[in-house]
Each structure stands twice: as C-alpha cells, then as structure tokens.
Amino acid sequence: MYSQGLIGAKTETTEDESFLAAFQARIDAEEKIEPNDPMPVGYRRTLIRQIGQHAHSEIVGMLPEGNWITRAPSLKRKAALLAKVQDEGGHGLYLYSAAETLGVSREQMTEELLSGKAKYSSIFNYPTQTWADIGAIGWLVDGAAIMNQIPLCRCSYGPYARAMIRVCKEESFHQRQGYEIMMTLARGTPDQKELAQDALNRWWWPSLMMFGPHDGDSQHGDQSMAWKIKRFTNDELRQQFVDSTVPQAQYLGLTLPDPDLKWNDERGHYDFGAIDWDEFWRVVKGGGTMNKERIAARKKAWDDGEWVREAVLAHGEKRKARREAAKMAAE
C-alpha cells in the first residue's frame, strides 16, 4: 500500500570522504544508482530498511481489506476488492524484488517481519469494522500512499524508483475506486451515509499519521533527503495530503473530524489540529487494536505454507535428478 515515514533506520556510514563525495556528486547530478554500483553502507542499509518496510506494508495491508472480500455487498464490488487486494500483493512482490537487488532475501525480510524486528505501516493495525472502511481506506490510505510514493518515482535508487512508477499507477486507480465507494455511500440511504461518516471519523487521523513524525522529531530525514531517497519532508507531504483531501470530503458532504481544520489564506494551505502522537507511538510499538492479529495472520500463513514450499523445492530436486539421469542414460 505504501511507505510510512521511515522509522528507526540508521543512516550513519563509514566510507572515506572522497568516496562519499563522488557518490554524492552522482546523486546531485540526478544519476540513478543501480544494484552493482558502489554505494555507502548507510545508503544501502537505509534503502533495505525502507523498501522492506514498504513491502511488508503492502503484504500486511492485504489483511484489513481482505477481511471484507467474502462480505462485499455486490458482485461488482467483490471482484474489484479482490483485484485490489491482489494488486497490493503484486506491489509487495515488486518491492521485495527491488530490496533483493541490495543483497537481502525475501525469506530474511519475511522472518524479520514475523519476529517483529521489521516494521510495517501502522495504519494496518486499525480494524476494518464496516464495508465503508473499504471506501475510506482506498480513498485516504491509498491516497496518502500516492502522496508518499509519487516522489519515490524519482528516488535515486533505480530499482526502487522503477517499482514505484508501476505501483503508483495502480494506487491512483485504488484511490479513485475507494472514493467512488464513499460517494455511493454518501449519496445512499441515511444508514449508508452514517457508515461513510463513521469510517471517515476513524480513518482520518491515522491517515495523517501515515506520513510519520513531525520533521523536527525524525532523526534520519536529512540524510535521506541528501541522498534523494526522500524528496519532501513528512510535514510537506502531510500538508499536501490535507490540502487535496479536504475539498474531496466537502464534495462528499462528509465532515472531517477536526474542529481546527480551516483554510489559511496567508499560508495558502489548510491549517489542521494537533496529531495525537501518543497514539501514533502506541500503535507503532504494538499497542494498536490489531497489531497482534496482523502478525499472527502472517505467521500462520507462513507456517501453514511451509510444507508447500518444502514440496516445491523437493519436487524441483527430483525433476533435476531425473533429467540428469535421463541425460546420463542417453550418453
């Protein structure tokens, strides 16, 4: 689904100055860094961390929406939701492949996710309680993802940038689809409108948190910006998101759950209320409603699938042995 403002990567690096200067010159010249190019250890580590978190978010993100596939209210919605969740799995796959170009394996990354060592976006630790959540997630969560990811299409690391170009096209389709679900509800029966407002009330603030801590509180932001992994700060992206989402909410006739939200003529932006960072950190650290369930579901899928993955390997070996035996016999 998307990357959250990166949490907890160490960007320090150990190379000598001339190496770092030459690398920075390539970055400043907007050259793409490719897998076999020399790169600072910190650059590699930051990317592995960020792409890994991003991939895990796509995969864990399949769960909250997957929760509604069997209960989707019409065949059209059922098919669209199934396709959407499948897309997210596809995003995970491209991203794991992009991370693998940096020298980590998908298995390694998966184990880090399951052990709790690797993070994923906290938004997925909120429960999907009603069908309207499917609309709100598409509209807001995929919408925030797009804000985050469009600049990543110009990320200095080539494989990540290219993966993002593909992903962004699909995310904007998801966003429109989510908005269209919200529109249908907002124009529907009073019950449906209530579902839409309730979902917006629950997903608005967590969506703003998706951009990560305030710029002043995020330690690694500057180095990521210098390396052009990141192009805008967390607060810049969050403001962009608010500015583009407020008119969309108005058009739906829904109310954003923020009494302090109002247009600021001087700034040319919407002002908005204070984000509850205690809640943010509580959910990041494991205290969200669904943290345990999400990891448990991923772990169950992984553990239950072990015999299948082993069978694939064993079958491959058997085939190879048979091919070789046949070749020997023919010689």
Binding site: L63, I69, R71, A83, T189, A297
Partner: protein, 251 residues
C-alpha cells in the same frame, strides 16, 4: 419448460462459479507464498466474472427484473443449485488445488462444447471461459504434481485430498430433465458425456503426481436440487451479510 430448463441450467453453472470463486477468495492474503496470493485471486476473479455473466443472462431469461446481485445475494439456501464439491471448506492447500483441478477438468470440456452452442449468449461466455479454464487446469495441475511428487508430507496430504474429494466427483456428471433438455436443444452437452475427458485429464496428472484414484466411494449428491452440506449456510451468511443487513440499499 424450455425457458425454465435453460434458466435452471444457467443458474447451476452460475452458482458453481460463484461459490467456488468465493471459497477461493478466502485464501487471499493467506497463501503459502506470495506468488499464490496473486494466482488464487486470479482464478477467483475468473470464476466470479463467469458467474456475473451467467447471472446477468439468467436475469434476462427470467425477465422479471431481477439483477445479478438478486440472484447471487438474495436467494435462500435451497435455491442455490451448485454442486457439493465447490461449497466445501477449503481445507489445506492440497485440498484447495485438487478441488480446483477437478472443477476445471469438468468445466473445460463443458465450455468447449458450449462454445459451439445453439445459444449465442452462452457461446459468447464460453469463448472467454475456455481460455481461463485451460489456465486453471494448468495451474492447479502443476500444483497437484508438485505436491504429489514433493515431500513425504505433501504426498500424504495430496493423497488425503484425493480421498476426501472422491465422493463429490460423480455429482458433477449427473443428468436430469434439465440437462436432457439442454442436450436436446443443442445448448449444452449431457454432463455424463464429459466424464471420459475428465478422467483422461485427471489420470494424466495423477500419473505424474504418483497419485491413485480411490475405488468407487459412496457418492454424495444433492447440490443440484438445493440440498447442501453444513458448510453452505455459513458461506451464505458471509456472502449475504450486507444485503441482508441493509435491505434495498445500492452499493
């Protein structure tokens, strides 16, 4: 009667595809590997797409203003006429893939024949479905082979799936006045006439997978007349939840 039989036939097919697509979609996000988290929804989407086309046609045949969603969501359990095989709980991955293979091996010759049907609408649906079902056979068949000829555990699980699903094969090929009317009108073949090809498809894959077909089991039947197993009510409770909770709303 001709119209009634056609409606009944189209609904059987539609229900088979909806219910199997629904079951398969339950795997989404929980597959043994990411590649299967993409492949299983693909097949589920094919099945749901086919179900939609069939329900839309059923609505047209019936001519009473019902929609695809009225058929899919607002009938009672007895009114669903899918075969028992497709409604069964997914079980493990071996069970799911073998069920997929069986259903695809049944539908492939069915769609092939319907593609040349006297009924132009069904022929049109079949033309697209033929390609999709060929992929399902390939995909599920490869899994049956890998698992049957994989590790000791996977072989045991695969053989268990073979035994568990065996009682539900015969029902696929049952005939009655509906299938007879379809065959008579040149709309669709008698299911029994597809058995030989089904057996050939399965036997080819089983030979590679080192699997044995069990001896004649006690065949289970009832789906075509709306008499379902215990799992069906729960499936419908899920499927129909929104439509039943908010009657008349448009989504």
């Amino acid at each position: 009667m001709a119209n009634e039989a056609l409606l009944a036939f189209v609904l059987r097919l539609a229900d088979d595809h909806l219910i199997l697509g629904h079951r398969l979609s339950e795997w989404c996000g929980h597959a043994p590997m990411l590649e299967e988290d993409l492949a299983m929804p693909n097949m589920a989407l094919d099945l749901i797409g086919q179900a939609r086309a069939l329900y839309q046609y059923a609505a047209e045949i019936e001519g009473k203003g019902r929609t695809e969603d009225d058929f899919a969501y607002l009938r009672r359990e007895r009114d669903y006429t899918n075969c028992l095989m497709v409604e069964r709980a997914n079980g493990d991955f071996a069970h799911t893939m073998l069920r997929q293979l069986y259903f695809a091996a049944f539908m492939e010759p069915m769609w092939d024949a319907i593609a040349k049907s006297n009924d132009a609408t069904l022929a049109g649906i079949a033309e697209k479905a033929v390609k999709e079902v060929a992929y399902h056979i390939r995909h599920a068949g490869e899994w049956v082979i890998r698992l049957g000829d994989g590790t000791e555990e996977s072989a045991v699980r695969m053989q268990q799936a073979v035994e568990d699903l065996a009682p539900y094969i015969d029902e696929l090929f049952d005939g009655d006045e509906v299938t007879a009317a379809m065959a008579e009108a040149g709309i669709a073949p008698e299911p029994a006439s597809l058995r030989a090809e089904f057996d050939r498809t399965v036997a080819t894959i089983f030979a590679e997978a080192f699997l044995d077909m069990p001896a004649a089991p006690f065949a289970q039947r009832g789906g075509r007349t709306g008499r379902h197993g215990e799992a069906m009510g729960f499936l419908l409770a899920d499927l129909q939840y929104m439509q039943r909770t908010y009657p008349g709303a448009v989504w």
